[in-house]
């Protein structure tokens, strides 16, 4: 059982839905970014998704693209992001998933990444642009290192692709709620819940729904037929607004608490 498996098992025991909070590593700088991650954990996030910034985040909307830019401008790298996870581990034990685009992982070197990420205390890895067909160059190494390989399913994936995604991964299935890019939306399309229910029925892995969820009420309705909700851009917007100021982490903690309240 991985730390991610344990976390889903204990959520189930408590009759709760999980909350995954996404933040970009190094936004707005390394020190403040660590404070925000800790604040999210303290606010009640069950999982942290730590984004490795990339210069060309093609699946992301303007909010996360700008966060990546801020982080890169302040010198964030794969090595420094892993150092942040190692620091976080000194105070918090919740599962951490590293999220990113393939090229920074590829340049860092897959064997080296697996060794360093595991040593830093990461639990799972999700690479947006490495679909099932190309995942053989990374997924087996990640799993062999003792981390979960988080697969993705989208509204355009048919049943066959979803089955293969689930079979190729572990930890949980990240379900993209809408066709499109990341970014806070004011509502999810009505078909999203039917689609979530259909996928949940086919998945032996817990299902976390993401993309577009920006309010506690949306988190609750998105998680209704799933096991967890992912909130990204709405959290990143708080970082964007407060930057490195002392009030920022507290504002994020309060927002995360309001999200989690709706998932209990």
């Amino acid at each position: 059982m991985s730390r991610i498996d344990d976390a889903f098992a204990s959520l189930k025991e408590r009759g709760e839905k999980g909350l995954v909070v996404y933040l970009t590593a190094g936004d707005p700088n390394a020190a403040a970014s660590l404070s925000y991650l800790r604040a999210a954990a303290d606010g009640g996030a069950d999982f942290l998704e730590v984004g490795i910034p990339f210069s060309d985040p093609m699946a992301d909307g303007p909010t996360i693209e700008a966060a990546s830019r801020r982080a890169l401008d302040r010198g964030m790298t794969m090595g420094r992001a892993l150092a942040m996870v190692r620091e976080l581990r000194k105070t918090h034990s919740l599962p951490v998933v590293l999220f990113g685009y393939y090229n920074p992982f590829f340049r860092y070197g897959i064997p080296r990444f697996c060794r360093d990420a595991k040593a830093a205390g990461a639990d799972g890895v999700l690479v947006v642009d490495l679909p099932y067909e190309e995942s053989a160059e990374m997924a087996p190494a990640v799993r062999k290192a003792g981390m979960d390989w988080i697969p993705l399913a989208s509204p355009t994936s048919g049943p066959g692709r979803i089955r293969r995604a689930v079979d190729s991964g572990s930890g949980f299935l990240y379900l993209i709620s809408v066709t499109g890019i990341t970014g806070a939306r004011t509502s999810l399309p009505p078909e999203a819940s039917a689609w979530t229910r259909a996928v949940k029925g086919r998945s032996r892995l817990p299902v976390a729904v993401g993309f577009g969820i920006s309010t506690p009420a949306m988190a609750r309705s998105a998680a209704r037929f799933a096991d967890a909700a992912v909130v990204g851009s709405a959290c990143v917007k708080i970082v964007e607004k407060h930057g490195a100021s002392r009030t920022g982490p507290e504002a994020l903690r309060r927002f995360v608490r309001s999200l989690k309240k709706e998932l209990r």
């Binding site: 060309d56 985040p57 693209e65 794969m78 393939y102 090229n103 920074p104 067909e133 190309e134 890019i181």
Partner: protein, 405 residues
Amino acid sequence: MLRNIKYNMPNHVGHFGPFGGRYVAETLMAALIELEAAYKKASSDRKFAKMLSGLLRNYAGRPTPMDFARRLSEKGKGAKIFLKREDLAHTGSHKINNTLGQGLLADRMGKRRIIAETGAGQHGVATATVCAKLGIECAVYMGSEDIRRQELNVFRMRLLGSEVIPVESGSKTLKDAMNEALRDWVTNVRTTYYLIGSTAGPHPYPVMVRDFQSVIGKEAMRQYRSVEGGLPSAVVACVGGGSNAMGIFTPFIPRKKVRLVGVEAAGHGLSSGRHGATLCRGRVGVLHGSKSFVIQDGDGQIREAHSISAGLDYPGVGPEHAFLKTSGRAEYVAVTDEQALEGFDLLSRYEGILPALESSHAVAHGIRLARGMRRSQSIVINVSGRGDKDIAILSERMGGGRVAD
């Protein structure tokens, strides 16, 4: 004597050896699989082939001529120089070959909206043209820096009824336009056809674009044979993403005695850090859906490319070029902004042809190459497009005068 080789790339999942593939978000996978199936079906359909060849002939003006550059050859005192005149194709460049093919495919697939990215604007114009011809809605993403540099083409696209969407992110050039087009596609994937203009991107784009462009090489081979007999010693083309070069190279790949020379943009110089020479100076990486050479830093972040020509200003390159380079079948060199301007000047004044600044890179290197060869030898340079679009940049650079003597 070198023997002919068998060449059958890519494999069934779009890999050219270690390059190529489909590194995209899950949401796009279904669309790429649908596209691959539709393309496969179309390419074995005689009706489709007939429709395309009819349009290429009657609408695009093919075959384009191959011209002997007499004065340029005499000046160099080396190999004879032949020019493949893609600048004479409808819309002023080779881009129309691919947009007609993909446009017909989109139509067959029932897609009523086409999006495209463009750098120099030539692919944008060719896409807008085909959309007007076929009655399909068209939106073209273009970096705001390129919009500034290529005003004429922006105006042409608008005249053709297409929407031009400025992209303000990153370096505001082709790479960023492609990011934005991919974002549009991932959002509107069920109704929209993404018409990529280069041999880059995820499978099946590199194959499909190469196939549609290979009409250039097929014609060139036939035309050369009928004028000179046999095969040329070398074929020279500029490489940004690599579509015109793949187009003219492809039929020659199995003919191993023909040197294939790709010319990249050295910008301010290869050691200046401001260039677009992806194959000469980049390292292996993944950008825009395929594995190839990429201009990047040690952390895998993509760096901005630079070239005087907007079409070569791209930090990636098609995966098949990466394969041809590492397998040794093709060679890649780079030419600076200044040298390209000299190439432009020479072709203009010795042959009466104003080439695009992209094509001027091939011209500049081709002239140099021919000079070092024997008079009994000959080379073919692909003049991929015409230079009218570059008039503003040229007059800025030349101050109204001549660049070189």
